[in-house]
Symmetry: C2
Subunit: 239 residues, 2 copies
């Protein structure tokens, strides 16, 4: 019953001479993200890029000054990022970049096992499987180009494509958040060339099983992959 889009006409343009110039760029963009949302985006970017390391402290005043926004707005962005577990709030002490502890690694992989294995067992449409295949090929290409950064991205695309087969917005966002958490914490590991290259074969096998319509085998492969990956992460980062 809710009509999603309402045209934004009423271009009364009572404003001064300048007029459309500045608005022209945003003319088609019906929904401009709020300032708080843009701050959150910027922080997510910096977190994903490894510019903000786990444990680092973020002070409201500094960020507000730095980004040219109000402290309250920064606060809203903090709340959003905290709800995604990328930041943690210590009451009256400040917000810090999240850092995963020993149990958290297992925790994250438990979520992934639940979501990915369950999803993959049910298979997907040919289009959805094609998306998975595309991610696999993207990874191969990145490997051939020795592009580690691209390899990491391709791997995330692969797993996101897997979950997308379930066709659930909620699962998609959960998966995105989990991947963001991992990317934040495991950023150092991504520099290791051998780190992702070993997974290329797994992804290929899983994708092949999917294309063959053997969801059961695909799910078993995925489960084995996740278990192995978890063990690897535990080995790298001190338990």
């Amino acid at each position: 019953m809710t009509s999603p889009a309402r045209n934004a006409r009423s271009a009364s343009a009572p404003a001064a001479a300048g007029n459309g110039a500045s608005l022209a760029g945003a003319r088609l963009r019906v929904a401009v993200p709020s300032v708080a949302e843009r701050v959150a985006q910027e922080l997510r970017h910096q977190l994903a890029e490894g510019l903000l390391l786990p444990g680092a402290r973020l002070t409201e005043a500094a960020l507000a000054e730095d980004l040219g926004v109000s402290r309250n707005t920064v606060r809203e962005a903090f709340a959003e990022l905290a709800s995604e577990r990328l930041l943690v709030r210590h009451p009256n002490r400040g917000v810090f970049v999240a850092s995963l502890g020993a149990g958290d690694i297992h925790d994250v992989y438990t979520v992934r096992r639940a979501i990915e294995v369950s999803t993959i067992r049910n298979g997907g449409t040919t289009e959805q499987i094609a998306a998975v295949r595309a991610a696999v090929e993207e990874g191969k290409k990145a490997a051939a180009a020795n592009d580690n950064e691209g390899l990491g991205s391709a791997n995330q695309h692969f797993h996101r494509a897997i979950v997308a087969m379930a066709g659930s917005r909620r699962l998609d966002t959960i998966m995105s958040q989990v991947l963001a958490e991992m990317r934040l914490f495991f950023h150092k590991a991504t520099v290791d060339a051998e780190f992702y290259s070993g997974y290329l074969k797994d992804n290929e096998q899983i994708c092949a099983a999917l294309e063959a319509g053997d969801g059961e085998r695909a799910s078993e492969l995925m489960l084995a992959y996740l278990d192995r990956s978890e063990a690897q992460q535990v080995a790298i980062h001190g338990v």
Copy 2:
């Protein structure tokens, strides 16, 4: 004061392999929840209680006045509830109590299938299974007392206990959020006496299978239960 580098000291403190998380989480009750948090709690309560129906609008000023807090504080509470999908923000239009559409029902059950079935297949410790059993008995008792409200609570406890077997904080919170969503939307349905009573037998069977160590059978029963429940919800609420 332009502070160019915000990468604070990450050196010593955060080590605490034990876990900084538990330190924060284990902050004893000496810490009083913030005002924003209390507002969020109050709203959650009213939502769960059915005092705020889906689609209802919440105005910042009214709530601020009503609860005796500042508008900004209400805003923070809104942000938190929105991140839990209990409220939705329409930019420049206001926040509304979330209402599930056609696809959302299937979406929610997709999440539950992924989490609950996956968790139950792996079984749990005797203590964890005992918690499941306790929820089952709680339901029986409520049924005997003709306490529909209690029946609904017991059912939620049952499913929460199931997920708790995974021992994952993240899965627990995801499950809590999903259950909160359902409780909000399906509140009207909970008045139906027959609605939950039919599930008592399912819960009993699932619990029995768990106690017998037959996780596979338990998971199959759970899957069948969820599918049936989804169909029932779709039947009740217009597709």
